[in-house]
């Protein structure tokens, strides 16, 4: 039940991010759309790893080694998402660097000014 | 009993967060939007942490430190954003002519 709600939220975020990328004319809003898209994907990946009534895969005195297997959620999607978040942020940094150079040369933030390679 | 009080506080915090989102959508101007976002979310966060402290009394010290951290960072960042918005010249909605920062800058410049 919980992972169904989280999965639906993640998929909705992907749709909203995709709509934002396709619709807006301002570069900064397109970049925010990309970021939403990425966040939605991370939420979907983490939601798939949920085991019913599971808890975080960290062993301490409330979760001894012997009963770890039966009470723990899947750790592998979490590990993948840790990497993915950092790379998503790095790609956003490159996009913002391109935005600064485009603004310097075109003096506007609208993507309608970048029509040179369109036929 | 403790859980009931905690739940009411968490519900109040969530209601303040919702009003923050509503305010950001409906406010006419950048400055009023920043005001709605900061004040309501800081109060919502504090109420949420207080409600959580009723659920888990053993976590009270950690939650107090988190609340202190939130109270330190939210207003400072909103202040910096509003000053930056003012200095690049974002216009105020319904300008009644009262601008304390402009008056203060003018006074400082005429004194030096």
């Amino acid at each position: 039940m919980i992972s169904n709600i989280v999965l639906t939220t993640g998929l909705l975020l992907i749709l909203i991010g995709l709509w934002g990328v396709l619709t807006h004319r301002n570069i900064l809003r397109v970049i925010i759309g990309f970021s939403l898209f990425g966040t939605g994907t991370h939420i979907v990946i983490v939601a798939i790893g949920y085991v019913t009534n599971g808890t975080a895969p960290i062993l301490d005195r409330t979760l001894p080694m012997s009963e770890a297997i039966s009470r723990v959620v899947d750790p592998i999607p979490s590990a993948l998402v840790v990497t993915a978040i950092v790379i998503g942020m790095a790609v956003t940094a490159v996009m913002l660097a391109y935005t600064i150079r485009l603004y310097d040369s075109k003096k506007t933030l609208s993507i309608d000014a970048l029509m040179e390679s369109k036929w | 009993m403790m859980e009931l009080v905690g739940s009411i506080l968490i519900l109040a915090g969530a209601a303040f967060h919702f009003s923050a989102g509503l305010g950001m959508l409906r406010m006419p101007d950048a400055y009023t939007r920043m005001q709605a976002g900061t004040k309501a979310t800081t109060l919502g966060n504090t109420l949420l942490l207080a409600g959580l402290a009723f659920y888990h009394p053993g976590w009270s010290l950690k939650l107090l430190i988190i609340a202190y951290f939130v109270l330190m960072t939210n207003p400072v960042s909103s202040h910096a954003l509003a000053r930056a918005a003012y200095s690049i010249g974002i216009p105020m909605f319904g300008d009644s002519g009262i601008d304390a920062l402009r008056d203060r800058d003018r006074k400082l410049r005429s004194e030096t």
Binding site: T52, P57, I58, V72, V82, V86, V94, A97, S105 | -
Partner: protein
């Protein structure tokens, strides 16, 4: 008009595909075999209490090395695009202030209180990677946020980019060196048995995982700080 029609069509079709995924999904009742073997192996074999960090720094350590390489490439490309000294004032337009406006007293006082707190918090997150939630990447990002706070508060202060670049490269080289030592002295590349496993749950335990966490944290923090510094307007 036709473009917005195609946009709506794309979103609706994708929404239909997502709806079939969301409706047909049923929660997992028990761990899959690979996850079960990881949850069993990491505490016993590696001595780490945090299963996710154990996976990231030993069993999937090659992916972590690849991510370190991707971050370095992004830092290089951000430096290339924003090229130091290429943005001359005359091509920047009329909305340039004459000098960096000094920050107000509230921001300065706030950052004087917050910067030590954030640094301690970042060190805590990095060192706790193998015991509780945390790790190298998370702590490195918090270090970069502390540097960002200082950059915003004192806009005239030039941070020492050369030192950060050298620290970052050194941390990356030591990371690979630790991996090669694992190849020579223990089971394989980036194996953590080169140091004794210690007592489970103690601060100095889990072999080489704390050292790898610290090196990762330093590398990611310095890298993100260098990227942030490139975004400042050049005088």
């Amino acid at each position: 008009m036709i473009r917005s029609l195609f946009t709506i069509l794309a979103i609706v079709l994708l929404g239909a595909v997502f709806a079939t995924i969301a409706i047909g999904y049923s929660e997992q009742q028990s761990l899959r075999p690979l996850a079960e073997s990881y949850v069993q192996l990491v505490p016993r074999d590696l001595g780490a209490a945090n299963v996710v960090t154990g996976i990231l720094l030993t069993y999937r350590a090659f992916d972590t090395l690849g991510e370190v390489a991707v971050l370095f490439m992004v830092a290089a490309s951000a430096g290339l695009i924003l090229g130091a000294g290429h943005r001359r004032p005359e091509e920047r337009g009329e909305d340039v202030q004459e000098a960096a406006r000094p920050s107000s007293e509230i921001v300065q006082t706030g950052s004087q209180i917050l910067a030590p707190l954030i640094s301690i918090f970042a060190a805590y997150i990095i060192m706790n990677g193998h015991l509780s939630a945390g790790g190298g990447f998370q702590g490195g990002a918090v270090i970069a946020s502390c540097v960002l706070l200082i950059l915003l508060t004192y806009p005239e202060h030039q941070i020492n980019v050369a030192f950060l670049s050298i620290a970052e490269s050194l941390a990356g080289a030591l990371f690979v060196l630790t991996g090669i030592i694992g190849l020579i002295a223990a089971g394989g590349f980036l194996d953590n048995h080169i140091l004794p496993l210690g007592q489970f749950g103690a601060f100095f335990s889990a072999g080489a995982i704390p050292i790898l966490s610290v090196l990762l944290g330093v590398k990611v923090g310095c890298e993100l700080s260098v990227i942030l510094d490139r975004f400042r307007p050049q005088p």
